[in-house]
Symmetry: C2
Subunit: 348 residues, 2 copies
DNA sequence: CCTCGCTGCGAAAGCGCTTGCGCATCCTGT
DNA sequence: ACAGGATGCGCAAGCGCTTTCGCAGCGAGG
């Protein structure tokens, strides 16, 4: 912590030391300095090493902005969660997003990129200024006003989950929702269910739509009427709305004996509502949901969950984007497998 | 969305349109375009307006990197939470940080800056590349290896909470912890407490130290031995460690009849431990803590909390930094008041 | 009629780096 | 001994903007 201090008069503001200073000190050209530090060019190991040492001694760090302008690459990628701004819950509260972003961050840093998290509510002030090589958009929502801004940047984008209004050649990382949904429904039947309902939200995201379609097809294959109970709200739904939806399901005439909730908070409220109205889970009703918030393990009974494998999604998204940035060929769509974690809510 | 498409061969990758294109299209020099768009220089309103329209029509957006290099300002500030990397809990889980950062983001964006959140674990890859005008460091921790890196950038820094190893002229936004601590202790006495203990952690942060000192002084003024019960862990403590500390406090010979916990999770565990060992809160023991995680309102009984007013801290931090960046004179330290929210845990 | 100040605009010099290419020098094979 | 390639390094042209400064043109004051 005791840097150089014998710099004569107390420096009003010491000029940043640049590549020219290093060149002068090492007695070489700036080209050579640049090459020495970047590992490019043709230099003897001795020169390379000497330049590096001089640079270190001087405490030289390249000016990132100049570097970016000259090279055309910034080494920065942004990740944004496309949640409605008025959501009663920030994406930081949702384990699913946090884990996914952490995994993406580790991957990006490991490959020499910095990853910044942009607030979902960022406007042009952010999207216009950020010097980005690429963007990861998580759960692109229909009608999100920031999506056109991001697309307008003209940088490569990887979507985690398909953009409902996207182009066919978008780069996408996602789960195979159809088969994931079917695997849950199958599990419920295996666990003894006769009628399996799907609980979602009225305003469908692409995600919800896929699950719905899969449920419909699955039901029809079994010659059953698809039983869907959609709560009248979008994904910004409050606990109260979920609770009301749960109570209405429990009170309905054709109450199903198994429910697959597409939202974890929905399942939690269903559990609470069931306890309140004296419906026993899992004896009278099986409940499964998708792991999002990390609430499933600690609810009573524990909730069987469909795991989307966020870590793998995050790694895949970052890898796909960086491969693309570096011109490496890669498939434009990557499917990440899902798994089911069985807990008390579907164990009789 | 239907840009010019008569560019001969199908554009392999359409060249970004730059200031030169706008200048050509508007029949002026690039200087004039720059001036027109930035509102500087001497131009007739008519020219200004015309250039703006042309720029819009062409869909021109200035290249942020070039802009930064030329102007020397990037319009970006970073915020980082200085939490140990091995913390069992991410800062995104802590309401206090999330609210603070949100407030800072709103303030920054409102003043034309983009604010990026850097992972606390970021290394040189991030800190070297990010083109930053300034940094906000939240809760600088003693020995955090990223702090020197950030200081090394040479950009202005605002600390939320004082850096234990900081310089006297650091820009700091903080609460007056001494008086805040005293106000809580006073409240506990008002609520009927006779002996008030302070529960903290063995490895002290500057925050903890201030509270400790205040508690000691306060106790001595009342002619009492200061009762401190420090849990043997740092702020990365797990629930189990907090629980063990709580049990040991409850079992001690000179069990206090009021406790001020410096960490909210600590208070939650104390409540649980008290229930378990048959100590009634608030009848036999009053408990107060600092609002961090948003758990206080929903515990049983509700926890009386000291509110640090995160929103105001965030706004103040961003404002202070930006004032400094823009050369506006400002005090280097800003105190944000605290408030106490009284709940069941101190209401007899 | 000449000077002066003001107005509207553009030329050009950077900002601090990266990189294509050219120029010596040296080594190798014949 | 000499051509030809390999090697080590530097020149200079950018990257796309901002900003200083200078240059005309013009109206007004003396």
């Amino acid at each position: 912590m005791n840097g150089p201090s014998n710099d004569g008069a107390r420096s009003v503001r010491r000029r940043r030391i640049g590549i020219k200073d290093v060149a002068k000190a090492a007695g070489v050209s700036i080209t050579t300095v640049s090459h020495a530090l970047s590992g490019k060019g043709r230099l003897t190991d001795e020169t390379r090493e000497r330049v590096r040492r001089v640079a270190d001694d001087l405490g030289y760090t390249p000016h990132p902005v100049a570097q970016s302008l000259a090279s055309g690459r910034t080494g920065m990628i942004a990740v944004v969660v496309s949640l409605p701004g008025n959501a009663p819950i920030a994406f930081t509260q949702i384990d699913y997003y946090v884990a996914l972003i952490n995994a993406a961050t580790r991957t990006a840093v490991g490959r020499g990129y910095a990853l910044v998290v942009a607030p979902s509510t960022s406007g042009p002030a952010t999207w216009g200024r950020l010097p980005l090589d690429g963007v990861i958009v998580i759960d692109p929502a229909d009608g999100d006003p920031t999506l056109p801004m991001i697309r307008g940047r003209g940088v490569p984008i990887v979507f985690v989950g398909r953009d409902p209004n996207g182009l066919p050649d978008d780069l996408v990382v996602e789960n195979d929702r159809a088969s994931a949904t079917r695997s849950v429904l199958d599990h419920l039947v295996d666990a003894g269910a006769r009628t399996v309902a799907l609980m979602g939200l009225r305003t469908f995201e692409s995600f919800t739509e896929d699950a719905l379609a899969a449920h419909t097809a699955w039901s029809e294959e079994r010659g059953r009427e698809p039983l869907v109970h959609a709560v009248d709200a979008d994904s910004t739904a409050s606990a109260g709305e979920f609770r009301a939806g749960a109570l209405s399901l429990l009170a309905s005439d054709d109450r199903p004996d198994a429910v697959f909730c597409l939202y974890e908070r929905q399942a939690v409220e269903l559990l609470a509502a069931a306890r309140e109205t004296g419906v026993d889970v899992p004896a009278e009703m099986l409940v499964a949901t998708i792991a999002e918030m990390g609430l499933a393990a600690s609810s009573h009974p524990g909730l069987t969950t469909l795991e989307l494998n966020q870590d793998e999604l995050g790694v895949a998204a970052a890898s796909l984007l960086i491969d693309r940035l570096e011109g490496r060929p890669a498939a434009s769509v990557r499917d990440v497998p899902t798994t089911i974690t069985i807990r008390g809510s579907t164990r009789r």
